[in-house]
């Protein structure tokens, strides 16, 4: 480091980082804390932060009232399934764009990204009708398809930026060595892009896990994932904050743990391969 950083400055920056980090984390913390309150404490003004009667009652009630495991299983199937299908399509697509670009590749990439800018509700009715007529409502297959379509642009973009960093020479060398395109992708490109593929998988599992619009609108029971599980607690018979919090905590727990252990990969994923 060429620049000298004073101790006060370091302290200030560290403090600021902690404060910002805490502010961002606060809603989640508050939700977790609330999930251990009685419904009465959950409503109280001024809010009780730590000094209340901690209880596990909400979790018991939530377990009794609905089937957490079934929803969780659906969440896993939908997020992992849509990501895997996305990779099957995304890896060849990103290969083509990174290593065999045409004049229109840049436009295609931007166009794909532009589909993410459209509000999904704009196509809700046609998609709903297609799903109804195709018998895909409340089916895992239908949901995997829609989540795969929704996240495909991001998958291709991420893989594309990673693949761009891989020297073209190495792929050409494998071609000279007699590898077919499929073998080139499987034996040379994919192993070299493992970090990129891993963070793509991770980010997309999280996006699909948290996706609420399509899952809420196109499922009811059979294919309903954890988003539906949470939503069922913001019911017309009155808001039950504590139970809603318990359900939400249960819903985000798996992904939170996954995210915690894979922070490094994720950060790299979120910067879209811009940083080495």
């Amino acid at each position: 480091m060429a620049r000298r950083v004073s101790t006060t400055r370091k302290l200030a920056v560290t403090a600021a980082a902690w404060i910002i980090g805490f502010l961002i984390f606060f809603p989640i913390l508050w939700m977790i804390v609330t999930s251990f309150k009685t419904e009465l404490d959950a409503f109280s003004t001024p809010p009780k932060f730590l000094f209340f009667d901690w209880t596990l009652e909400n979790y018991t009630v939530v377990q009794e009232r609905s089937d957490y495991l079934r929803h969780a299983m659906n969440s896993i199937v939908l997020s992992v399934g849509s990501t895997l299908v996305g990779l099957l399509v995304g890896i060849p697509a990103a290969w083509a764009m990174a290593f065999a670009p045409t004049k229109r590749t840049r436009d295609t990439l931007l166009w794909m990204l532009s589909t993410k800018m459209m509000p999904p509700v704009g196509v809700l009715v046609p998609i709903y009708l297609l799903f109804r007529d195709g018998g895909l409502l409340d089916s895992r297959a239908g949901l995997i398809f829609i989540l795969f379509m929704a996240n495909l642009p991001i998958i291709i973009w991420m893989l594309y930026t990673y693949f761009k960093e891989i020297p073209k020479d190495i792929l050409e060398a494998s071609r000279m060595d007699g590898a077919t395109t499929a073998k080139e992708v499987i034996f040379v490109l994919a192993p070299m892009a493992v970090p990129g593929i891993a963070s793509t998988i991770l980010l997309n599992v999280i996006l699909a896990w948290n996706e609420a619009f399509w899952t809420l609108n196109l499922t009811t029971v059979d294919a309903a994932p954890l988003t539906m599980f949470i939503a069922s607690y913001s019911s017309p018979e009155g808001l039950f904050w504590a139970k809603l919090s318990a359900a939400s905590t249960l819903a985000i727990a798996p992904i939170l743990v996954l995210g915690w252990f894979s922070q490094k990969q994720l950060v790299r994923g979120l910067t879209f391969g811009a940083v080495k």
């Binding site: 020479d169 050409e172 494998s174 071609r175 000279m176 007699g178 192993p191």
Partner: protein, 334 residues
């Protein structure tokens, strides 16, 4: 067998013609070097032969079979890249054996051939290392090992030595030449370094702006350059060109004479001028002389002349080694 014939090969990227109408025959077992300034299309031509680029027009025949529609994997050639292009996630052993593995050869055969190639290239102690743990020279050897193990019809080298330091470059140059001689496999070698071209080639192909300027043995190109471009490109320091009234003496537009074919003396000669720079490189002294009415002329002088900048000096070109060129730059031969 590995005879490569190019017939009317052309390549354009959009509207830009990179290779125009190239005809060339590379005989089986010969070592052919493509040389030319950067951007002359020599690498593109090599990549067309490899199949890494598609030709716009023309034919490429390998052992008599047109391969323009054959993918690189099926052409039976192997290539050594400037960047080495080793597979970073594989050990040296796997790097060398990759081509055989892709061809679906049995494990025992791969093992044996990889070991043999490694022994030839002194790579045996490094077989289990990754490319990242090797030095530049070792990586280059691995790249060569990967090329030879497949017993290809021809080797294609794309400026393989330009990432090495000067000493290593000379050593690898010798090794590649020796190896090619032993294996007797056709080799096409691209370089911008005319010393590499002169020392390694059986035949040199001089390219300029996507066209072949001349094809010939190193000495042919040196002694009988076909035009101004080849005359100026081959030889170091480069040939002196003299035009205008001074060339009229020989009845041509331009005359060329190499620095080593001019005698410098203090007593008298055809031209006279002032030394502007004297470079002593030990075996030789190169004098840059500002000659009256002609301009700068480079001369190779024998050591004992002791000329210093500012000295008046006389130069005499060897009349038998003068190259004469017409107004279009074409060589005129008696």
């Amino acid at each position: 067998m590995g005879k490569i014939v190019l017939e009317g090969v052309e390549k354009s990227f959009g509207n830009v013609n990179v290779i125009s109408d190239v005809d060339l025959t590379v005989e089986d077992g010969s070592f052919v070097v493509f040389v030319g300034p950067s951007g002359c299309g020599k690498s593109t031509l090599l990549r067309l032969i490899a199949g890494l680029e598609d030709v716009t027009a023309g034919k490429i025949l390998i052992d008599g079979i047109d391969v323009v529609d054959t993918p690189p994997a099926k052409r039976g050639l192997s290539m050594v890249f400037q960047s080495y292009a080793l597979y970073p996630h594989m050990s040296v052993r796997k790097n060398i054996g990759f081509g055989l593995r892709m061809a679906g050869r049995p494990k025992g055969e791969i093992e044996q051939k990889v070991n043999a190639a490694a022994a030839t290239l002194n790579l045996t102690p490094f077989l289990d290392r990754r490319p990242g743990q090797l030095s530049g020279g070792q990586r280059q050897r691995v790249a060569i090992g990967r090329a030879i193990v497949r017993e290809p019809k021809a080797f294609l080298f794309d400026e393989p030595l330009s990432n090495l330091d000067a000493a290593l470059r000379v050593q690898m140059r010798l090794e590649i030449a020796k190896l090619q001689d032993t294996l007797a496999t056709t080799a096409i070698y691209v370089t911008h370094d005319q010393v590499e071209a002169m020392t390694m080639a059986d035949r040199i192909v001089v390219l300029n702006a996507g066209r072949i300027e001349q094809v010939g043995s190193p000495l042919e190109l040196y002694n009988r350059p076909a035009n101004l471009f080849v005359a100026g490109f081959i030889g170091s320091p480069k040939m002196n060109f003299v035009g205008g009234p001074a060339a009229a003496k020989w009845d041509v537009a331009t005359v060329g004479v190499r620095p080593e074919h001019i005698t410098a003396s203090r007593d008298g000669g055809t031209w006279s001028g002032t030394v502007s720079v004297a470079e002593h490189v030990g075996s030789d002294t190169f004098l840059y002389v500002s000659v009256d009415q002609i301009g700068d002329v480079t001369v190779r002088a024998v050591g004992e002349l002791g000329a210093k900048p500012g000295d008046r000096i006389h130069l005499t070109p060897d009349p038998d080694r003068i190259h004469r060129f017409d107004a279009n730059g074409k060589a005129i031969r008696p």
